[in-house]
Amino acid sequence: MKNYVGREIPDYLLVNGKEVYQGKNYMDGKYLQKASPKTRRYEKPQESKIVASLADALRHCGAKSGMTFSFHHHLRDGDFVVNMVMKAAIEELGLEDLTIAATSLGAAHDPIADYIEQGKVVGIQTSGIRGRMGEVVSAGKLKTPAIIRSHGGRPRAIEGGEVHIDIAFVAAPTSDCVGNCRGIGGKSNCGSMGYAMTDAKYADHVVVVTDCLVDFPNMPASVEAIDVDAVVVVDSIGNPKKIASAAARISQNPRDLMMAENVAKVIAATPYFKDGFSFQTGVGGPSLAANLFLEQYMDERGIKMGWAIGGICGPMVELLKKGKVGKVIDVQDFDLDAVNSIHQTPNHFEMSASQYANPANKGAFVNKLDFVVLAALEIDTGFNVNVLTGSDGVLRGAPGGHPDTAAGSKCCIIVTPLIRGRMATVCEHVVTVTTPGDCVDVLVTDYGIAVNPLRQDLIECLDNAGIHHVPIETLKEKAYSLVGRPDDLQWEDKVVAVLEARDGTILDVVRKIHPYTLD
């Protein structure tokens, strides 16, 4: 069945009430029955929940084959915990048929690809999938299609019982002996632990894995002892160098700077750019550089930013410290400046993934957002964005909060170079729709700006400000005139990944790529 963005969704996926994507806000006003976990009572006072090993923790939680384990990705490319836990479960306890439900997975998790190939891991639910894992899933080696959700879609699915977590593993930079966890004060700090929060509340069992045991009580806790079954102390939960980079520097690339300047120009031309406005930006080159130019416009107009959300890094912390933004509310930290600021700088707060982006709760932050500036691997003439699959059709990205912020914000700006090498970023049809075009408002490229025709109000704003813009088709034609028109990718029928829209409907599927031959 074809969905709202023109993608053909196989009927066999449309079971148990699953629907195809019908446009944004389709689920508005409907009811959701929250699921509740089955948790163990610890009535008798416990001196400590520390167990000797991950294997012991798994046994304590009644781990068995067929279960779903959850993980969060605040340790990013430095994470050791996913691999450690899966190794203990599969190689020590001999478990199989396991499903990994992670908030995101990356290059740090290449070893999991082996467990997929061996058939020990049979399901993956995640926002991001990259590296070898992306390759083996794309090659059709995972037993069930991977389910890809946005950062807001995941807590919705957990709260609604679509994902039932048997054991949640919380990688904690610090924990006390009963499992009060924080993201700071240890040796592998990650700052915010926002993505772990929903998991801990809705999992049947919770295991805290830490490399820095601190005195009880570890307060204020991001994940609380009242939800934790066991604490495991390991040598190291991750490589600090890869958890948080030294400091996200604003790009000096002239192309990025030029695009960033145009992003700020567009923002300043809209009516939402007024004292107290709210903002989120990605950490990619041009998105982050937009901060710099935005600050100039704020100074010029004598206005301040009310609040900023998102993955946070140094330049935003800098604005907070300078008093140019009122509050920063933080679901994840990308660099040491942000890690060292959360809970320390006044008005730098932590929030959960659900609070950040869940479309099914009663008021996520994204819904109050004025502007979001985001990157794209591809964007097509329907303004549909792909941030998941490469030009070869292989899984190598993450929707993250992209679809959530795009849908919630008043003005969603995509910033991307027109071409990357010989890849047309602006194209006729994206390989995979990860953010639907009805949520995307403006496209800024190095070759020009285009506005979604759905937003006549914004077109008028740009015209009034004398900002030149062109139809997105013009940009696509320019791209193809440079790189040539690409051949269509060749797919097989087998679906290797299902892409859920943030509201739980099916936005797209990724199929197994047909091996390419020249003849």
Binding site: S391, R422, M423, G484, Y516, L518
Partner: protein, 100 residues
């Protein structure tokens, strides 16, 4: 034109291609790898073969390692490698003739 000795041109930087030519045995043997193989493999092959054909090269082993080069770059790299293989890349290039 006849490939007299092995020669190469180009780099492995993004947007470039590295082209190597060697004397062949009566036909064109092309080995091609590309970072954009699925979408442009066929077009890259056609561009390389057309360029060799314009240069009158009928016997060569040609290897192209493409890093997302545009057609104009591919042509330039193939031509440079071929002229280098004849020690003729420095002067009197037939601009607008066989090179176009």
């Amino acid at each position: 034109m006849e490939i007299l000795k092995p020669a190469a041109a180009g780099t492995l930087e993004s947007s470039d291609a590295q082209v190597t030519v060697e004397p062949g045995d009566g036909k064109i043997e092309l080995s091609l790898s590309s970072s954009v193989m699925n979408q442009y493999g066929r077009q890259i092959r056609d561009t390389v073969l057309e360029t060799l054909d314009r240069l009158g090269v009928t016997s060569a082993k040609v290897s192209v390692v493409d890093k997302g080069a545009l057609d104009c770059t591919l042509k330039a790299r193939v031509e440079c490698a071929v002229f280098r293989s004849m020690d003729a890349s420095d002067k009197n290039i037939p601009w607008g003739g066989a090179v176009r």
